[in-house]
Symmetry: C2
Subunit: 369 residues, 2 copies
């Protein structure tokens, strides 16, 4: 039997009581504890303490704290007072275990480097916060095995729901998500088979529209600058859509440059475009895997006096804020990221049937095409 009141706690993480100017005796044994009634120094306050101080039962305290069930005004006040006095912070771990329903929402994203994901998260967060849920997030770094591990880890917190990016997961990850018993939202993409709720837009279609736009503006010698499409699957889908339209019109990319850097996409765009232009002449337009790359390409053009779009047209993807603030706004495809996050979170919480929501996108004709 564990002796109550003498808890250990994680050695590393519980704060050592800092000596306040007062020297601490080092080689001295504990002074004989005051008989049996050690006042349990700074024991963590529990609902029982609050109940006792307020002179009511634990159930009543619980009811007040959760605003559930009916409690008399007088009791409510006593309890609130007692809780405040004791500086009581409810233990949601215990609450979750007892009620078998948590207020945690798991979120798994591929990265937080780009602004895209944070914006989606911001949208998600708005909704979660309003509903009193707390996000538990994991970052997979575009690694599906890491994603699988993260999903398992997050599920072990028994979240009330889970949001993941994209539709591509390992078989085991998919199985876990299917079998975990809570709602699952897959964000960002709708080109594929979803698990439960899917909220995003079609990247394939975005790629198609991009190609149609460039072809409609009579660009024919088009190059592609992107990063690794095996890592960024959605960029791959856009490329696929773009290519399809090209083929349908009897065309092909003049050349393609894949830059491996995942770290700095702007740099990848700069370097990628520089390389492409060095080995190919006669290009009249570049399709970039996203706005970061396109921005890098645009900077390259600015620096080397390549007139955009006369000498070279540029097209990106995402519709980042910054792309409409450059000297010439970039042509791109804008996705409603915040809205996507909100819609996803709302569907997650509202418990409707499994659905696929296409939030669409908007082709933004800037000054670079």
């Amino acid at each position: 039997m564990r002796k109550p009141g003498q808890k250990k706690g994680s050695a590393a993480l519980s704060r050592p009581r800092a000596p306040k100017g007062e020297k601490v005796p080092v080689a001295e044994a504990d002074p004989a504890p005051p008989s049996q009634v050690a006042p349990a120094a700074n024991k963590v306050v529990t609902i029982t303490d609050v109940a006792q101080r307020a002179g009511v039962g634990e159930s009543t305290v619980s009811r007040v704290l959760r605003n559930k069930g009916s409690v008399s005004q007088s009791a409510r006040h006593k309890i609130l007072k007692a809780a405040a006095d004791l500086n009581y912070v409810p233990n949601r771990i215990a609450g979750t275990l007892a009620s078998m329903s948590s207020r945690l929402i798991g979120i798994v994203v591929p990265s937080v480097g780009n602004t895209v994901v944070p914006e989606v998260l911001a949208g998600v967060n708005t909704v979660l916060e309003a509903a009193g849920f707390q996000p538990v997030i994991g970052v997979s770094n575009y690694d599906s095995l890491r994603e699988e591990a993260l999903i398992e880890s997050i599920l072990s917190w028994r979240p009330a729901g889970i949001l993941v990016a994209g539709l591509e997961h390992t078989d085991r990850a998919r199985a876990m998500l299917k079998g975990c018993g809570v709602r699952v939202v897959e964000l960002l993409d709708i080109d594929g088979e979803g698990i439960d709720i899917v909220v995003g837009s079609s990247h394939r279609m975005a790629g198609r529209k991009s190609a149609e736009h460039l072809l409609a503006h009579n660009y024919r010698n088009i190059g592609y600058v992107g990063h690794d499409v095996r890592v960024d699957i959605r960029a791959g889908k856009r490329l696929e859509g773009f290519r399809a339209v090209m083929h349908e019109n009897g065309l092909n990319f003049v050349d393609e440059e894949f830059h491996p850097s995942m770290a700095s996409s702007v740099e990848a765009g700069r370097i990628g475009l520089a390389r492409l232009l060095k080995r190919q002449s006669g290009l009249d337009a570049i399709y970039f895997s996203n706005d970061d790359l396109a921005l890098g390409g645009y900077f390259h053009c600015l620096e080397h006096d390549i007139s955009v779009p006369r000498d070279l047209a540029l097209f990106g993807y995402n519709g980042l804020e910054i792309t409409r603030l450059t000297p010439q706004p970039l042509s791109t495809i804008r996705t409603p990221r915040i809205a996507m996050g909100k819609v996803g979170a709302n569907l997650l919480l509202s418990g409707g049937p499994s659905t696929v929501v296409d939030v669409g996108f908007e082709l933004v004709v800037g000054a670079t095409t």
Copy 2:
């Protein structure tokens, strides 16, 4: 007494079993349940189930799953097999409650819009993940009351530690952090009184160095373009340091433009600079509250053929990746954000004494001064 096996669960969040092609009788009552032994359809798998299937005691299963204590190879194998067969996912909520020590780390940040915070988080996450901790994050939107509420909410998950941004908090927030019994790391700033562990750099000093740099390059008619410094306290500290150096040299800002927009900082920089230039002539340098604003200002200059730095010098703060990729790299102050996150997380986990770590910064002389 609650009837076991007949749990309710949150109506909204538990997944409705989708009918698989098979029509579901609608107005039909439950067919008489098979005597007493309802096979508890898809009951959640617990450690007891695993123990039974493996033919061992629960404690042994627990030992295997946590790699703690000694277990025979044969038992280990049986247990692992059983766990895999049953697709068992341990319940960390219960584990946390029982062991009174969690693997959650609370994180409270002011926003996720800017890339700065995500980068710090990436650093933090690297360390947490390696150590098997899960971040629970909250976003305060630069609102200290929201921050207070978030801190309370996060503490109710009884995290093993907590990271917050900045040193300025409400009294109650500070009290909670001091009294919660776990280590606290305050990130990003070291100009002020910390609670426990502080990891960041001096914004006041950054402001000073920026001013010294501009003055050393003989700029004398300096303007300021920033956002609301009452909201972004750290930007305010930089401004304060900058001003101090100006005063020490008998100078003052020619003019200051505060743009309220928190949403798009690049736009704030663009608009802010445009306004400033409209009402003031003779400016030779602009100090921006950060790189986003500076970037906006730079774009304005590019578009309006203002030669940088001949006509106007620009100086920012953060050292964002993009600032070294613009046609002319921006002059700025680079902070080690990823490292900062790593250091903070490491100190949090390693349980040393309260400290203040100055991770410093680097003045990057670009082509805009």
